[in-house]
């Protein structure tokens, strides 16, 4: 019975113009989004790896120079673009990809593409993930809103039930038909994309990406499944097709468009982000405080760079000064980043009414474009900066400090530059993403089960009204 119902519904749906037009549009948009994302990624990755290599090469061949000047010039490091960023660019456009590792200060990741964008940026970015998160639920609603109500209005439901068709078969048959319509649209494109992505990767990274794709498929499956069962439930519960449509569209607007924005505003009130000025002032204050303490313990000086500290101690002083700041930097940046993560965790609860919020976090996480992975990169970049500072300061202590007032006439050569290892950053593995986002997946699963239960309840009610 299940198969017969599914086959009949599928036939009805495929004959209907709604699926053809709306589905066709979604597929075209999906292809455009994939092509654009692919194009961007190929270009970015080759540019970034070339940039990284050039930068390190310039570091090695900078000739003879005072090591602190070398640290002033520093080095740029680039965040590699995860291969699934084609699918979900996540926060990428809003955080940038380059860190300048220079002396004295921890830099933030800069050059955010969104700063080069026009007012249209506010409407969002066309990505395959956006299509699946926003437009596909709409498509499910549009093709499925009358799948039960229409049968009731035409009187075919009465006939069907009189034949002894169990409601369970009715529900799953209709769900299967709706799901296959969506499947027909996205599965071929998705599969081709997955194969292309995996084939392009070096063998070592393939397994990780395959796992990521599988988890993404599970997450999106639960999300779209939620909409399939919700649509059937509302279609069965509502008095007419018109009411079902209005209710479902209302839910879609509220849950996919309004809730994410409201949630981010609300969590900002709950865990306020500091202003740039407050943050900078606090950081400067903490660094100066730590500096003063360190200078007085090490050199008995009242202030940093006190005239009482001779140049024969400047290498050591640089080291002390830098190291004194590390704690303050870690604490201040850590606090800021914790605030961001707390804001995001608070938003996950909104996933209980608007599953798109939970899905977005999960999708970005698995695609490798979420905040936790950005933080991981920033931390690695800062560790590299400190490595450079330490190497440079040690060398100054050993060589320049001996020269007294001629401290700055000291020049180090290629041997010193070569002791700084090349910055190699490996994107965290899938388990890192899962550890951060399992709660979102669990939430999606709960929402899915709830929608199935609601649909079962709706269809088991007397349908003969």
């Amino acid at each position: 019975m299940f198969a017969i119902i599914a086959a009949k519904d599928l036939r009805v749906l495929t004959r209907d113009g709604r699926l053809l037009w709306a589905g066709g549009l979604v597929v075209i948009l999906m292809l455009v989004a994939l092509a654009a994302g692919w194009n961007r990624q190929v270009q970015l990755n080759s540019e970034r790896s070339a940039g990284q290599a050039l930068d390190y090469d310039a570091w090695l061949h900078q000739g003879y120079r005072h090591p602190h000047d070398a640290a002033e010039q520093g080095m740029h490091v680039f965040k590699p673009e995860p291969s699934l960023a084609v699918f979900d660019p996540g926060i990428g456009p809003f955080v940038g990809s380059t860190v300048w590792l220079q002396a004295h200060r921890q830099s933030e990741v800069k050059f955010r593409p969104a700063q080069d964008a026009t007012g249209l940026q506010r409407f969002g970015e066309l990505s395959p993930a956006w299509l699946l998160q926003v437009l596909l639920p709409l498509l499910i609603i549009v093709i499925g809103f009358n799948s039960v109500s229409d049968e009731r209005e035409r009187g075919t439901l009465r006939q069907l039930l009189s034949l002894g068709a169990p409601t369970r078969s009715l529900l799953y048959g209709k769900a299967a038909a709706l799901a296959s319509c969506v499947g027909i649209l996205i599965a071929p494109v998705g599969l081709a994309f997955a194969v292309l992505i995996v084939a392009r990767l070096p063998a070592g990274e393939r397994v990780d990406v395959v796992y990521r794709i599988a988890w993404l498929a599970a997450g999106y499956g639960l999300y779209l499944g939620f909409f399939v069962f919700l649509t059937l439930a509302v279609s069965a519960l509502a008095r007419s097709s018109r009411t079902a449509l209005v209710l479902l569209l209302g839910f879609w607007v509220a849950a996919t468009l309004i809730a994410p924005r409201t949630a981010s505003e609300a969590t900002n009130l709950l865990h306020p982000t500091p202003s740039r000025l407050d943050f900078d002032n606090q950081l400067a204050h903490d660094v100066a405080d730590a500096g003063r303490k360190a200078w007085s313990t090490h050199f008995g000086a009242r202030t940093p760079w006190d005239p009482s500290v001779p140049l024969s101690k400047w290498g050591a002083a640089l080291k002390v000064d830098d190291e004194a700041g590390y704690g303050a930097l870690d604490e201040n940046f850590g606090r800021l980043w914790d605030t961001f993560e707390r804001q995001q965790r608070a938003q996950e609860w909104v996933g209980l009414v608007a599953p798109v919020v939970a899905l977005r976090g999960f999708s970005m996480g698995l695609a490798g474009t979420d905040f936790s992975q950005h933080r991981d990169f920033s931390t690695a970049a800062e560790a590299q900066r400190r490595k450079i500072q330490n190497i440079v300061s040690e060398d100054l202590i050993e060589h320049a400090d001996r020269l007294g007032n001629a401290h700055f006439t000291y020049k180090a050569g290629p041997e010193l530059w070569a002791t700084v290892p090349q910055f190699k950053y490996e994107l965290p593995s899938v388990s890192f993403a899962l550890a951060h986002h399992w709660a979102s997946l669990a939430l999606l699963a709960v929402m899915f089960c709830l929608s199935v239960a609601l649909a079962q309840f709706a269809l088991s009610r007397p349908l003969m009204r």
Partner: protein, 491 residues
């Protein structure tokens, strides 16, 4: 027997009254209006909170600048009187220290008086820069701190309510203007009365539109006038008028679409589907597709290239001033060498090198930075043209320019900042090169920042032009709907 000639106006007012009574009893209108009022209120609250935050930023940085200035004056006075132990990096008599770490000015852009109406680009772009001798790449990309997730979600501001939500509420009120009458069998009865369908539909639209506009237009404007005194100027009132015209024209456009869809003679469900499909295409899909297209047609220069060029330029300038960098540095152990003698001061060669090297870096990457700005301008021009494709894009651009949160204004700020940065350097350059010590007079004659607002006439023209276009579009669609309705069938 005298034939009754229907008087269109009195019939219309009769329909309007009757329709209003039905809608009030039905509670749909009340519900929709409450939802709209709540959203408008919340959107305005978010906009006001952002505007207040940015106001606070500007006043804080200016206060900070004042404090630093006072502290510097005090130190300089005691340095000139020979009272303070001298630290090379924080000696205000030293022009190189004053150009960089010690002083610096803030270039600030105040909120436009109507900033609360749309957040626009203001969360991505800074409204103040700290100007020192540092190179542009070191300060030009600093922005206010914001959770990237929130930037991605976008804000729930008034512009969002108007552009995204308002058309959906229009759809809720208008998808079954005629189809419901047809489905209930009342259309046939109405047609037997001396009333044309066009009049009937006009009456229905008028009630619904007035109800929505009565909330969406006065509510924000009254709140703004009450709590933001700067919104009360004549120029602002004109802007508010154009804002109202735009919102009204945009609402009218969506009602015209609803009316046109209703004249086709399809079922209510199909009408709702068509309206939602149109909304999806015009408000959701077209703008994101155009965003992509703009990036493809007029791509931003590579940020990676900028990073590379910065590195090369930094390396070259460091090399160029190598001799200055590696000179003897006796000042640390011999602070007396930093004393002011005959209005002259020995600028430590290393500090002079810092100044010169940063200046060189800017000269070298200037062309590339210019390309970024030009590209943004070009993109914006493209957006201006493409916005004709979607009313949502058209209205968005106009709403952000009324609020002063559009990219035109930020580009103007960036331009003026760059000019000021150059002025700042030019002020110090001769002093550093000629080893002239800073005097108290110098301290009070440091270059000052003045923001020059974009002339209102420029904005007004582009906004009214857009409002008129929107109105024309709505009239064409509305006219088409009225023409069709007079020929339409009631089945």
């Amino acid at each position: 027997m005298k034939t009754m000639h229907p008087r269109p106006l009195s019939t219309l007012s009769l329909i309007v009254l009757h329709e209003a009574r039905i809608l009030v009893r039905d509670r749909t209108l009340l519900l929709v209006c409450c939802v709209l009022a709540l959203m408008v209120g919340y959107g305005l609250f978010v906009g006001l909170a952002q505007a207040t935050l940015r106001d606070r930023m500007v006043s804080q940085v200016l206060k900070h600048e004042q404090e630093v200035h006072t502290a510097n004056s005090g130190t300089l006075q005691s340095v000139l009187a020979g009272q303070t132990a001298l630290i090379p990096f924080s000696n205000p008599a030293n022009p190189a220290a004053m150009a960089g770490t010690l002083s610096g000015r803030y270039a600030t852009m105040p909120n436009a008086p109507l900033a609360a109406l749309a957040i626009g680009q203001s969360d991505m772009m800074p409204n103040y820069y700290r100007i020192t001798y540092l190179s542009k790449v070191q300060f030009m990309y600093d922005t206010e701190i914001e959770n990237p997730w929130n930037l991605l979600s976008g804000h729930f501001d008034l512009a969002f309510v108007i552009i995204f939500v308002l058309p959906l509420l229009v759809t809720t009120l208008g998808y079954n203007l005629l189809s419901a009458e047809r489905e209930h069998g009342t259309l046939r009865m109405l047609c037997s009365q001396p009333v044309s369908i066009a009049t009937l539909m006009t009456g229905k639209v008028v009630v619904r539109m007035l109800a929505l506009l009565a909330i969406v237009i006065p509510l924000p404007l009254v709140v703004l006038l009450l709590i933001r005194p700067e919104a009360r100027g004549a120029e602002q009132l004109v802007l508010m008028l154009s804002w109202s015209a735009l919102v009204a024209a945009y609402t009218l456009f969506w009602f015209a679409v609803a009316a046109l869809v209703n004249t086709v003679g399809l079922s209510s469900s199909t009408n709702a589907l068509i309206m939602v499909a149109l909304w999806t295409i015009l408000v959701l899909i077209l703008p994101v597709t155009m965003n992509l297209a703009v990036g493809l047609v007029s791509p931003a220069p590579s940020r990676t290239e900028l990073a590379n060029r910065t590195r090369v330029a930094t390396a070259e300038s460091l090399r160029e001033y190598e001799d200055l960098y590696s000179a003897d540095y006796r000042y640390a152990s011999d602070p007396e060498a930093l004393l002011v003698k005959n209005e002259r001061i020995e600028v430590p060669s290393r500090m002079r090198a810092f100044f010169l090297a940063k200046q060189k870096v800017d000269e070298r990457i200037e062309p590339l930075l210019k390309r970024f700005d030009q590209q943004l301008l070009q993109q914006q021009k493209l957006v201006d043209r493409l916005s004709l494709l979607s009313p949502a894009m058209l209205v968005n651009e106009a709403l952000t320019s009324i609020a002063g949160t559009d990219s035109h204004r930020f580009l103007a700020f960036k331009d003026q900042t760059e000019a000021f940065h150059n002025e700042w350097r030019q002020y110090f350059s001769p002093r550093i090169q000629e080893s002239r010590a800073m005097t108290m007079r110098d301290l009070s004659s440091l270059p000052r920042w003045h923001w020059i607002e974009i002339p209102a006439s420029e904005i007004n023209w582009s906004i009214w032009w857009r409002a008129m276009l929107m109105l024309a579009l709505a009239s064409v669609l509305g006219g088409l709907a009225l023409a069709r309705s007079s020929r339409g069938s009631i089945e």
